[in-house]
Amino acid sequence: MSNGTLEIKAISGHAGPVAGRDTSRDYDVCKLIDVTTCIGCKACEVACLEWNGYPFRETVFDNTYQTMPDLAWNYYNLIRFNEHVAEDGTFSWLMRKDGCMHCADPGCLLACPADGAIVQYANGIVDFNQDNCIGCQYCVTGCPFNIPKFNHETKKVHKCTLCSDRVGAGLEPACIKACPTGCLHFGSKDDMKDLADKRVKQLHEHTSHKSAGVYDPPGVGGTHVIYVLHDIDHPQYYGGLPKDPRVPLLVRIWKGPLKWLGNFAIAAGVIAAATHFVRYGPKKVEEPKKEEVV
């Protein structure tokens, strides 16, 4: 495994600048998920477990086609299933491969207080480094997609790595390799956008999915995992994909203005106390004259 090609451009909880700040590789990587050709076979779920070396978990049957209700710390990749009845009464099974979106503006990284627990590589991959994770779960609160999952035993958080270990060695992610329908693609962001646009055009011209579109939400600066959806106006039909995800405003305030205000107030308080002492000195005890003491 080589992370040599994975230059770091952003580090969580890091004091001072990052060597690779504002850099971008010639090709930002991107995974394209064309949900219109997903058959819900879950080969990607299996490939993910196998590559990451996690044991198979028990599945939870809830009368749907979904493996379990939610992602888990050792289950990065879940086909979300929804039986959708459209207004005109037509019925469809919607499948969406859920997992980390690898946001260009990652809320998890912004929220994380631990130096180096979350890094963003210049190729766009957002990766968690469990060695540095302190288990505070701020990333859970910062993520607009509800992705990071906590392991209660180790007190570390995990999520999809976009197979940074494979990508660093010039391979494509395991899920891509396993997908039998060609629903998953991996390449540069530009190429994937092109491919997605072509597919959307095809859907518009040759199918009844007139509101098909590409999901690459600008609220988080775009993502390095993008979807082609039959109905771009209602991403929430696909197992609760948010319509306009953003790094939560309160998280931004917390990590931005509030921090500076707080730092300033604490420093000002300490300096004010010291200045007061220099100016007025300690309070004196008013000593009664000796003979007055009873």
Binding site: G135, L250, A265, K283, K284, V285
Partner: protein
Amino acid sequence: MSTAAATHYVSSDAIQRYTFHERVMHWLNALAYTYCLATGLAFYTPHLFWLAVMLGGAPTSRFWHPILGIGFFIAMIWMHVVWRSDMEITETDKRFLSNVEDYATNRDDRVPPQEKYNGGQKLYYWLMYYGTFLLLFSGLFLWFPEYISFSLAWVRHLMIVLHEVAALITIGGFIVHVYMSVFLVPGSTDAMIHGSVSRAWARTHHRLWYIRVTGGDPVGKE
């Protein structure tokens, strides 16, 4: 013994200000708060992350922070049971607070006589008391974020801000408290360690209390 503390003053006959019970209670409270403060500051800004490293590593700090937080809450409730009646804000305190400028600039002769705790001390007490509830309440959401459904994620966002605001407010009070008890009013720290103050100290800083416990103001009488 308390004589050690009292040797700083002309008058050697000391008055007990805090019982052993009160002192233990205060210091347990202080210990839990300070631990939460130091580890909390580490999670607050990367520039103070080293505090957590010094306190046994950041994961350890994160593990103990909420537990000591609960300890702080319990200690605060204990304190409330013991001190609540002493801390009620009275007319005397209001008069003190409206003259607080004189007190702050050490023109103590102009400050109206005070009970066992002056208005400022009482305000600090209530600030910490209510602050503790805010910290515990918001802190529970930070401790167990996964149990808040994602559709209520805004609650987590709100609580994370609330926790920080509440912490900053208590830090403001804490800075003043430490400054005053360690630097501004000599004898205060001794009192909290050994339990007693000199008569002159009591008479200067808390004259109404002094009169109450000595049964008159023998020094002040002409």
